[in-house]
């Protein structure tokens, strides 16, 4: 094996190691207790009781539903799983609030109590419309996140990574939805 080749491998390994350090540095350590406090009770390893907020049948209020699901350890991953359960629709008496086919692409927590939720196009494309319908979609997401993550103050909706003006033409979605306004 010639010297040049060995040198090349060493350089590549160093670069890889540095890159790994940088990548891992931004990750939450897996064993750490989740910050912000999980409201739901931890039942066994990785299984947690979560609260989902749906609308009622007469479109006059919200109904809560509890579920026990396996959740990832990191907060963003957990929030994504919770919202995926919400998107799947109710098992009880409630009415779905996220349009059929809506996927949760990613969830991001900032350090000021803000949550950014990136939905797939179906959120807008399949929405039934109406300002009440829009309000329930927002309320159910905001309240669900607030019920499961104690420090959430506001929620921003994104679609396919971009900002949207409204979900169905009524409620201004260019600003964050404050938890206090959507109780």
């Amino acid at each position: 094996m010639d010297v040049k080749r060995v040198k090349g491998i060493v350089v590549a390994l160093v670069v890889l190691a540095v890159a790994l350090v940088f990548i891992l540095r931004d990750r939450e350590p897996p064993a750490e207790i989740p910050e912000g406090g999980v409201v739901g009770e931890e039942i066994g390893r990785g299984i947690q009781s979560i609260t989902l907020v749906f609308a009622d049948r007469s479109a006059s209020g919200m109904v809560e539903e509890s579920r026990e699901i396996a959740v990832p350890q990191d907060r963003a991953g957990r929030a994504k799983r919770v919202l995926e359960e919400l998107a799947a629709g109710p098992e009880g008496s409630g009415v779905r609030t996220l349009p059929h086919g809506t996927r949760v692409l990613s969830v991001f927590f900032d350090d000021r109590g803000g949550v950014f939720v990136d939905f797939s196009r179906e959120l807008v494309d399949n929405h039934p419309g109406g300002s009440t319908g829009e309000l329930f979609t927002i309320q159910s997401v905001v309240q669900t996140l607030a019920a499961n993550f104690a420090d959430v103050e506001s929620v921003r909706f994104l679609v396919e990574g971009g900002e949207i003006e409204t979900i169905a033409g009524h409620i201004d979605a260019t600003v964050p939805f404050l938890v206090g306004n959507y109780r």
């Binding site: 779905r96 039934p128 419309g129 009440t132 009524h170 409620i171 201004d172 306004n181």
Partner: protein, 500 residues
Amino acid sequence: MMRRSGVAAAVVLFALVVASPSARAGSLLVDFSDARPAARVETKQLDGVTYVRLADLARGVGGARHWNPKTGKLTLAVGTHRIGISSDNPFATLDQEVRNLGRPVWLSEGTFWVPQSFIESVLGPAVNSDVSWHPDARTFTFTRLGPVVTSIQLETRQEGTAIVLGLNELADFVAESAERGAVEVLVTGGRLVDSLAILEGEGLVASVIVSQADEGVRADIAAAPEATSFEAELYHDPYRIEILVRSSHDAPFMAPELRGRQGLLPEGRNVLGSWGTDVETVMIDPGHGGRDQGASGPAGSVEKNAMLALARELSRALQREGFYVFMTRSSDSYVPLDRRAELSNLAAADVFLSLQCDAWYSRSATGFRVAYHAPAPPRWRAHGRSRGAGLRYVESAGASAGGVLEWDHVQDAFRDESERLAALVHDSMADDLDVADRGVAARNLAVLAGCAMPAILIETGFISNGADEARLADEGFRRSVAEAIARGVAEYRRTLTGRD
């Protein structure tokens, strides 16, 4: 030696100066009536006929020459016209037409010379000009001819009646209405080749008479009594001017002076300060439209259509109450949300009413609701966005003390009035309509955010509910809803001005 050469030079110079006028070469002038500079064109006499140098003419009219050595043909491109000549050939082509020049084109030492008649018979028409010859000044004067009004046609459309004036080229025009029912359109510098008139009109147009005036071609349009506004626009392909006459029966979209161009904004007017003296003008905003269908019902009703039908009914009801009415759309067209608010601001409307349908997954949800704007929470962004022209408008209007108001916070200043208006319209609807009452709500509604006047959004029912959908499709019910809303707005006017 020196002296000799000096004398020789003087002789040559003398010969040049004195001899040139008597030489066969000369020149003439081509003068243009517009801003183009006059062109000096070299001439030569050949067998008693004056020939002019084509290159000089081409330069004068701004034409481009293309020489094809294979065919021996030279093409001169002037604007969209093509002139073709070839040496020793007395015929020239202008586009598809052949013109006889009387004498053959002469090619001498690589330069094309054409008989003088070429200027009048070929070049003049190619640049749409009249040509006259002034022998004393040895000058051809080109006078540009104006656009020709070639045709006139009436078209009945959904939005009104359109008068289409056909043109042979682009033209400037002015359209104005000095008195009610009469619109005068002047095609500046235009020419009329055949007389044009429509004496028996249709729709909103009673007659159109087109005549030649000194300033150009004039079209006098007599509108039907129910016509209330018009719009005039120039179009390409084919060139034409369309004058659309509208009627308030359909609810006018915008008076012509309110077409929403930035330049038409009242200079220095304070939008916030302008409101509050009276309630005269109402802007109706039929929700959704065009590619934005809105919600839809189990029987297939679509919100955008249902709301346009209701808006027309409401327009009539409000006019009966003595209001002047505008609509953000009067056809099935897409209007962005901030544009709706902007239109209302431009129209200086005193009240903004957005008409909507609610919808929900559960078909049992039913009833109407009236909403007003809940102020938006503070922004996270470091810099507020300047969405749409609403911000420009507020800026240009001077806004509130000390600067720019974020356009989507304009409505915050009207929150109390909007809440009061919402309550009065709600009460009137609750009294008159036998439908479920969902009350009054404050919501962060994008369409209301930029409105510089009391503004509400009326959810007229759940289109997703079979019974609500059927009611909204019923003309009698729509009229009841329209009348209830109109009474609510009239009541609001009474509380504000003490006037019925």
